[in-house]
Symmetry: C2
Subunit: 373 residues, 2 copies
């Protein structure tokens, strides 16, 4: 069986991704541009837009929703021209938004779906900017973090700016359900980050291992990672006019893949070296975070409870916690759970018609498990 | 002529404003709720929702847009129920959004317009939270600032959370043009804050007074203050189905009122004492900001250029700058410009049919000039 390269399947669209994102971020203020575009310069993996584009292509072959399921909403037709000119006081007014014309006669990726891929990456990047301020991160993808490079002020502003531009681009898609889905993601990301911050305070009150700690971690992980992937997969299917079963399948693929992705990420934080990871290894423990490998290790090592409760803050805590995790089956159990979710992701799209894009989505799930950084 | 009380005209709607906003912000996480709702507890003046409600009522008597001007956009009818249940992983899913049913037979304020008033206040409050982090503010409305009370982390998160919930509520209005208008406001607010931060760096290169400094200041003021007021006035008219001339008039009222409001704010920063203002007087100079009174004073006091260039950072700069402003006609010119904008605001709605709400809007413009804090 030949190797599948998911990136090749949507290479044409991915080629223009960064350029289009940078166009969405033009402000006429060089130093705002610099901060806003900073995380788009690095060799990011663009996992989220890649999944959105593959899902768009794969669902283009699925059954369509009957017309009667479509409702209409009010909108002035003169949206881009109806704002009266304001002499000195300019507004952001880029060229018209993406339109729903297929790029070829073959049912394929719509301009609105390409725009969705860009919006998804913008929202993700905005959350990185604010998370790095909140976590006092010093590096990201092997380079200084934006907060270190430009200061906290500019990093907060740049994140807000990305959210603002993402919201405008989203509004221009003119699809009510898609707009609401992605707006909900923004609220979810914050709630997830908040749950991560609070995690330890909650554990402090109850230093006994319980199933609840894992439930809390999974909910946090859904909100902080899987919500964006799952809802943008659902949005891709909706923009393509897919039927309800396909839309749900797309969502379930994204949800399970997102959970698998974060579990592997948390595992790699223990198993990979700083050089391989592009960010400090063991960063989670240093931040006081108890992720899946530790939560599993805690079950058989009750002494970890006290360390969790004090956020690994005493000298030697981080080293001891890491040692106990590595000696336990925490890594193994995390990998097993990630595999479980990856299989569920693949299972979710089993009814999609055979296509290169469907194979690409399956390969993304396999790659998620096998990635080394 | 009897005294007009704008607040009384929309008292019924204003009464539920804070309660409704707090409902929009419920998260199930007590400490996130506390930070998110912090600035909604204080005795804020709720100027923006008040204007939105008055505008909604005043424009309800204006000519309506013909049906043919309405375009339709795609939306699934099953928006709130089509998301598949996620066992552990809950989504924010409040009761259905505002609907466009008038509350009485008399054309009046629609539920969607009331919701718009709440969204406007949410966006304003989110920008306060982030601005206070960026400016290291220590107090707001006579109480400790949110960043001081909860820390920068929680203030950034709470601001993001407000933006996220505002975006969801906005999406649920199901009005494409209104969604785009308010999304643009979010981007404008950031650009305005950025221009304010950069202001001095730019002046440093050119310590000579020029008309350009005032133009830059007015553009910053539009983006940071008038954009939200003007676009939410436009949105209120759109939600009510007003015709194009009314929609433009609403926008022009908001734009001019917003500019007048900020000019008076900048003037009060010089003329009022700390006790009267609820925040430190002269805060702008301490922050290195050259606002209208100083820009006018600079014209006749070239020595202010050097102080502007170094952001009033040397000992005695703030005191000297304040003294030169108070001796000059800077305050007077600022007041004259504010009056000019307030008159333009009143003129913009001169063709609205006579009504209590129209009188309320006129009174808001008059009050803006006369306010003492």
């Amino acid at each position: 069986m030949p190797t599948i390269d998911p990136l090749r399947i949507v290479a044409k669209e991915m080629k223009f991704l960064t350029g289009n994102i940078r166009k969405l971020l033009g402000s006429g203020h060089p130093s705002l541009d610099r901060a806003a575009k900073y995380y788009t310069q690095a060799e990011g993996k663009h996992i989220r837009p890649l999944i959105v584009l593959l899902m768009s292509r794969a669902t283009s072959l699925c059954p369509k929703a009957p017309e009667r399921q479509q409702a209409t909403i009010q909108a002035s037709s003169a949206i881009n021209t109806s704002i009266s000119p304001v002499s000195v006081l300019s507004d952001y007014n880029p060229s018209a938004g993406a339109e729903n014309e297929p790029v070829s006669a073959y049912p394929d990726i719509l301009p609105s779906q390409r725009r969705l891929a860009e919006i998804t990456e913008l929202i993700h990047t905005a959350s990185l900017l604010h998370d790095d301020v909140i976590d006092h991160s010093e590096s990201r993808r092997g380079a200084p973090s934006a907060n270190l490079e430009f200061g906290n002020k500019m990093a907060v502003l740049a994140g807000d700016f990305l959210l603002g531009r993402a919201s405008v681009a989203l509004a221009r898609l003119r699809h009510a359900e898609v707009i609401e889905l992605l707006a909900t993601v923004i609220a979810n990301l914050v709630e997830g980050e908040f749950m991560q911050l609070k995690n330890t305070a909650r554990d402090e009150a109850n230093p006994q291992w319980s199933e609840e700690a894992l439930t809390y971690y999974l909910k946090k992980t859904y909100l902080k990672t899987a919500s964006l992937i799952s809802k943008s997969c659902r949005a891709a299917a909706l923009l393509g006019g897919a039927d309800a079963a396909t839309v749900d399948a797309a969502y379930n693929y994204g949800r399970n893949l997102g959970l698998a992705f974060q579990l592997v990420d948390d595992m790699l934080d223990y198993t990979r070296s700083e050089k391989e990871l592009g960010k400090p290894a063991g960063a989670d423990l240093e931040l006081g975070l108890a992720t899946a490998p530790l939560l599993f290790a805690w079950k058989t090592n009750p002494e970890l409870g006290a360390l969790v409760g004090r956020k690994f803050s005493q000298p030697g805590d981080v080293e001891l916690a890491r040692e106990l995790v590595m000696k336990s089956d925490g890594i193994e159990q995390t990998r097993a759970l990630a595999q479980d979710y990856a299989e569920k992701a693949i299972d979710a799209i089993k009814d999609f018609p055979a296509s290169e894009a469907k194979d690409g989505l399956i390969e993304m799930a396999v790659k998620t498990l096998n990635r080394k950084k």
